[in-house]
Amino acid sequence: MAAAQPNRLPQGGRIDRSRPLAFSFDGRACEGFAGDTLASALMAGGVSLVGRSFKLRRPRGIVGSGAEEPNAIMQIGEGAAAQPNLQATQVELREGLKARSTRGWPGVRFDIGAVNNLFGRLLGAGFYYKTFMWPRSWWKHYEHAIRKSAGFGQAPDGPDPDRYEHMNAHCDVLVAGGGPAGLMAALTAAKSGARVILADEQNEFGGSLLASDASIDGVPAAEWIASVVAELRGLEDCVLLPSSTVFGYHDHNFLTIAERCPVRPGGQAGAGVRERLWRVRARQVVLAQGSLERPLAFCNNDRPGVMLASAVSTYVERYAVLPGRRAVVFTNNDSAYRTAISLSGAGAEVAAIVDSRPGGAGELGVRAQALGIPVLAGHVVSEVAGRSRVTGAGIARWSGDSWSNVRSTIRMDCDLVAVSGGWSPVVHLHSQAGGRLAWDESRLCFLPAEARQAHVSAGAGNGKWSLGECLAEGLHAGAAAVSKLGLKPAGVMTPHTAAGAGENPIEPLWRVPAARDADRCSRQFIDFQNDTTVADIRLAAREGYRNVEHVKRYTALGFGTDQGKLGNINGMAVLADILGKPIPEVGTTTFRPAYTPVSFGVCAGESVGDLYDPVRTTAIHEWHEAAGAPMETVGQWRRPWYFPRDGEDLHAAVARECLAVRKSLGVMDASTLGKIDACGPDVVEFLERIYTHNVGRMKVGRCAYGVIPGEDGMLMDDGVMARTGEQRFYLTTTTGGAAAVLDWMEKWLQTEWPELEVYLTSLTDHYSTIAAAGPNSRSLLERLGCDIPLDKESFPFMTTKPAVLAGIPVTLFRVSFSGELAFEINIDSNNALAMWRKIMEAGAEFDVTPYGTEAMHVLRAEKGFIIAGQDTDGSVTPVDLGMNWLLSREKDFLGKRSLQRPDCLREDRKQWVGLLSQDGRTVLLEGTQLIGDTGKPAAMCGHVTSSYFSACLGHPIALALVAGGRQRKGETIHAALSGRDPLPVRIVSPVFYDPRGMRQHV
């Protein structure tokens, strides 16, 4: 044990020593305890080098203990279940966990890229912009090399086997952060009867109290936490979410929380839910996310062994890990004195507390000195020695001038430098919510100012550093939140704590003077993850950058996965110092979601695989599947594409299906068509305004083809409509246009013409539609048994009748989308499959052939019927399509005025025509560009919208939009083919087959 965990303290901490956990780091077997994070276990095992820096490849160690950690970025797990780019400080240790450092190839101990460090001075701010952008054509080579060596985590190599889910939640009060302030806010709100959600990113509630020796209400903090959590658990409408980061504060008090679900003991990947995304609509929000400690900028401050003082305390107190044996504590405020006291109590030697303030600390200073810890007030650590681990600190007297040259006069051996540059409240969510920030000159930090949404900040996140203040403010925030909701705040007492130690105020120390000239500041790191140094910020300022947002982009300050949690304020302060402006004038950058990195898996939730998007199926779908039909996706629908027989490919099957329709009988499932019932006293008037043809002239029982233009005159949708009563019509739309057409009609009815009494009801799902097409379609219906006469005179083309077919009530339509004699059978979807089976049975003697969408497309193209959305694209008018015959002269309709716009009258508008390949065999690709002549450069004059091989005609056919096309029939133009000479094509009528339309009238 001692060998495996040399830095583990013999007792203390919140780890469970009875549950040792084995894990590996870069292939090395390691050991920790339940309750450890990966970071604390690594540190217990004596691992101090966890990665290489991004640009300069400098060795890096663990700096922090939470969301601020910039260096310990790990790849967790292997294969498909791997999770890249996780912070070791945020990963709960579990048995069998496999971790790899993501930065530094082939390993963190030896890194080829470290040679970059030698050229560090050349790799200043904007280096990539300046160097690799020239010559431009070389960029792709540079980019490849840079990306390869940059190496954050690797994307997993297969579909994630784990489960992720979403959870929508609503609450009266959401409390973000479960430290002393958050716990008090949640307790007060919940006891007042509010629905409360309390979320904290740690696996235990308590926040800073977990690493504190404070007592509350006379009991140790841990006991107090346990009692509060137990009380909250007992309240019905209180949801407790540990290991859950509130990472987004969006509009209308909508917040997003990523919950890392505990892996069950012995649980395998994929067994349970790995992460859950909570989508919370909160009426009030209490932000109590605490504060983050800032590092200090001195020479080589990035060496492994230089850590945040608070993180050192956390490792000692919470995880019983000693991060070093001999420490120097460097601070500009009182809080780090606690770290020195902690270290000393844990058996480490504290070589000195180096305090930049001439007066040192208040009461804590006295306590430290009583423990025999030397305090060097008015001094700074100006540099540290050591490469892969700190070996000593150089200490100098502090003159108060950041830009002077100071040689260190004292050298102390040490393996740990604990630093504190003051504290920054976590104002991210406040800022995401649109709240303003205000600089506080005495606390030296940005504090949340006016809120724009319903939230309030409390505790350290609001600049309250003492425990007593945090508890009181939390209580107050909880009470204020419920009061705003009209609830009476429950009488909760502020817990009693020992009076706060008298503290001396923090003093600004944004940059420590260096031993030599100012260029040594190239080793003074501000943003560890992006290797942004004081020198980079100076360079940016020298090159004219004044705005912090620009400086950020030029230097990459704050861009990493830690989003500048450590470096932003220091960077801005240095910039302000250089520019000679006060910090608030330099401003702060905007915080945007997410506060911490969020996995793709949790964003996707359950919407993966076959739940990625709804799949709509018809009532006959199971028959199509059983028949082995490949499916085509049309919108959300799955439609049979073709029905292969005996190993046929697409072309063979489609040719057979088309010929069957032309020669005998084909049936297809057309149920996906949109269907709308329109009725009311004003239905004729309404439809006259929507459609272009004379709706009023239709007699009851008649069908008509209609098109719907937008107000801009462009074709929006088309379909057959039938007049089923004096005041009733049955409208059909395209498969994809169903919802849009209904919305369009309702919009006009509700907003512009409410005086029109018309009701629209969607019947798309209620009715299934079976199209029976071909010369034998009438015989089929007769064979099925139909209660009405079906001959040409009794039931002519373009009429509709209710009937009973094979004993089932249906509505028959004598309409045709293939140009053949055809009937569309509309039937209650509950009966559709049965009817389809009967058709297959009764049609056997005609060799009834089910056909799919592809044959349907070919058949309609042979007849020159458009598919809205394929042959049109929102820029095509009915006139362009040759549909002048459909445009009523006698009435107005939506879009009519626009057809008179000069642009719609241009003679060279693209018009819809047919095309024949001159070689008689080339099937053009849809989308092929058309050119008039073959000179170079060739002017484009149109494009192919539909193209097929027509088995019935024995040659390819195509439909195209060609400039002035209708006047150019007979003319030969060219299709531009990839890798081939342009192919001559002849412009013809778009109707290739039975141009007089005789076949459908039989």
Binding site: R163, E165, H166, M167, N168, A169, H170, C171, R195, I197, D237, V239, L240, L241, G272, V273, W278, R279, R281, G605, E606, S607, D610, L611, D613, P614, V615, R616, T617, T618, A619, W637, T672, D677, C679, G680, P681, E757, Y759, T761, L763, T764, D765, H766, Y767, S768, D828, S829, N830, N831, A832
Partner: protein, 183 residues
């Protein structure tokens, strides 16, 4: 699965078969028309948004002039004709939509938690009490969701989406074991 009605880890999902549906449109301010429809139906038509009445049928409010009437399938056609005939003199629309809808039941102590994974409505019993219904989203589909009693919900979904919704519900219910903190 689970047509046997056995709870699946605290949730049971079943298809309610043999249901018939009618879609009714009429002007709610036209007292005579409303009275006529109520007389044929034998129960009140809910005027309050997001509620349904329960008598011989369930009459769900869909919009200010639109209702869905659910009953047994065999009665739908006859009732539809009867309604249409009675309302013949008014501006009204009656459509049999029995083939277009599927009704699912989600029951059990964890029904609410399962639905909350894909429904943005606040399903807390204080906010969405028995007798209330809402057209809303579940997963990525539109549904009519109704609170039947404190631990059962009816979902009416368009037929073409019903497979998706059924699979969505099964998937959402799968990880539900003994413990789960409901929102």
């Amino acid at each position: 699965m689970s047509d046997n009605g056995l709870p699946l880890s605290g949730v049971a999902i079943s298809v309610r078969s043999g249901r018939g549906f009618l879609n009714l449109r009429l002007n709610p301010h036209h007292g005579q028309a409303v009275e006529t429809a109520e007389r044929v139906l034998g129960q009140p038509i809910p005027q309050a948004a997001n509620t349904f009445t329960n008598g011989g049928h369930e009459v769900y409010w869909l919009g200010p002039d639109e209702w869905l009437i659910a009953n047994v399938a065999e009665r739908a056609a006859a009732l539809g004709s009867e309604l249409a005939e009675a309302l013949g003199g008014f501006h009204a629309a009656v459509n049999d939509v029995s083939g277009g809808n599927v009704e699912l039941l989600v029951r059990g102590a964890e029904a609410r938690a399962v639905l909350a994974k894909g429904c943005a409505l606040d399903l807390h019993p204080r906010e969405f009490a028995p007798g209330q219904c809402a057209q809303t989203g579940l997963g990525r589909a539109a549904v009519l969701l109704a609170a039947v009693d404190p631990s059962s919900y009816a979902i009416v979904v368009r037929r073409s989406f019903s497979d998706y919704v059924h699979r969505w519900l099964e998937n959402a219910a799968r990880p539900h074991r003994a413990r789960f903190s409901a929102p």
